[in-house]
Assembly symmetry: C2
Homo-oligomer: 331 residues x 2
């Protein structure tokens, strides 16, 4: 029994900028962790090489024998066909089109491998070991450059028919709104993400509005990120405050839609932009109260995520530990 408890999952978080690889126990404990750059611009092949090297290093670093390894769990940014183990497309991984990442890694490393979306993994991580423990119905949202989502229903991760459910960031909430990174118009991501805030800020600066943010980035508007917007807003800069309030209101509209559709107990907000805290969450909570029906609005608590940048690897590990045979690829 004790031996089986000590088995690890080799968990990988494959994002547009970084690859995190780790050995994770079924308790959620991370016993070994490695951070490397994705260098996504080089295309799929070099990235896959870096990913398998990172896994091999973790195996060596944690001195794992094959019998110690429960499997590999990859959490990747993009539209993931979990059933088939394929990255069909990814806004953050240029050149990735229908890449059978699960089978490539399974064959290369000789280990049973699973592939899920990174926000779905984070939802699972937060549900089992983070802000969502003990809750049956939960929606996880990561708000950073983009907006991703994961769905826990009746205690389990919901992945849908192909395994790509949870694309909450591309819910259209303003049909005639601004263009999104995905090419469509008026997605939640185009209105409430970090990049939506910076785009809107730059647009309004270019229209001649004033903001202290220009000094923060020494006049280089291309260096503005959501972090600078947050700093300026905290300092009381009125344009920055306005930008945050607008994004928060749209976030609230998106959350109100989710509250009406899912009647969740909990919505967990992670990602870099969630560090804005109540500046973002208070107006979002107000929008939910104003828009969603009373019964589900009273029930849904909106809280910040707890696992930070480990949510994805912990969740990927949980997914492997809890997997039934289907969906995985035996080496």
């Amino acid at each position: 029994m004790l031996a089986s408890r000590r088995r690890s999952v080799l968990a990988i978080d494959l994002g547009g900028t970084k690859i995190i690889a780790a050995a994770v126990l079924s308790t959620g404990e991370i016993v070994s962790r490695k951070y490397s750059l994705t260098l996504a611009d080089e295309g799929p092949r070099p990235v896959i090489n870096r990913l398998s090297s990172a896994v091999a290093e973790i195996i060596a670093q944690a001195k794992l024998k094959t019998s110690d390894i429960a499997g590999i769990g990859i959490a990747a940014a993009g539209i993931i066909g979990t059933k088939e183990g394929i990255v069909t497309t990814s806004p953050n991984l240029p050149g990735w089109r229908d890449v059978p990442l699960r089978d490539i890694i399974a064959e290369r490393l000789g280990l049973t491998t699973y592939l899920i979306n990174d926000a779905s993994a984070a939802a699972l991580g937060e549900h089992r070991f983070g802000a969502g423990r003990g809750v049956d119905n939960l929606i996880y949202l990561t708000v950073s450059t983009g907006i991703g989502g994961g769905i826990i229903m009746d205690g389990g991760l919901y992945l849908g028919a192909d395994g790509c459910a949870g694309e909450i960031g591309h819910m259209i909430i303003e049909t005639h709104g601004p263009q999104c990174n995905c090419g469509k118009f008026g997605c939640l991501e185009a209105l409430a993400s970090g990049s939506a805030m910076t785009k809107e800020l730059v647009r309004r600066l270019n229209q001649g509005e004033k903001s202290s943010i220009i000094e923060l980035v020494a006049g280089r508007l291309e260096n503005i990120t959501a972090e600078e917007v947050a700093i300026a807003a905290r300092q009381g800069d009125s344009l920055a405050c306005d930008i945050v309030a607008r994004a928060a209101n749209y976030l609230g509209i998106g959350l109100a839609n989710l509250v009406n559709i899912f009647n969740p107990e909990l919505i967990v907000i992670g990602g870099g932009v969630s560090k804005m805290g109540n500046m973002l969450l208070a107006p979002a909570r107000k929008a939910i109260r104003d828009i969603a029906f009373k019964l589900p609005a009273q029930t849904a608590r909106i809280v910040r995520a707890r696992l930070g940048s480990n949510a994805e690897i912990i969740g990927a590990a949980v997914y492997v530990f809890e997997q039934q045979p289907k969906g995985g690829r035996k080496a």
Copy 2:
């Protein structure tokens, strides 16, 4: 075994205009059925009296003994707290505020009673005996005066924390859109329902646009319903065609959101407006292909419902037959 198979559920569909009561077998067969008017304007008390009379008549008509009855299942229009058995509010039932309908009926008739939302019931009915048989993940949408929804995930009805999940009609898809029956702005219902079509048509007629529909209703604009819009569109009336195309496009945007969020195998469209058939569904399918991600868009089939106006009572019966102890109220 045979005896238990012949047990009936007393199923009720409580809508804004009609009450349908029936005895339904676990095979989905309706053995007795009664239609009466709701006369909702009279308020909760007389409606509840009519509802219990209808049930009593069905018991007499079908010659049921208490041992023949598996329970009562009520499918009601409105925001239903299934867990507590309460109609919290209902746009179609004026004066209903937090009415504990389940317990009132259970006590009055001395039978175990369950209460769910009518569109959730219809989703369950279509899943077990209609267009959704054999499918694991499906979304049901009823498009009539309003738009309701029901969610089947991983083979079961999803109701959320309080039992009111599925309010798809009040997903905001156009933040600055027209006002909805619920009071908010830009809901799917305000853009793609039967009443949305007639409102938009009347607005444009009042602006001086021409349409053959005026003759269809002998000049009485207040008599225009979605049925007249459909007739005029089929006859090639250009304003009516435009109105239907616009609503269908918005319906498609709403469905694309659902496809991205749920990755369903199937979307089943019921309700009176769905009788428009491909006039409505073809543009909606196109919008899904244009807007949703390729993987889930390829998977999701959009079909018409099969059970017609019996979906709610059949689904309410299924719900009772499949219920675990929780959520019901023992008499």
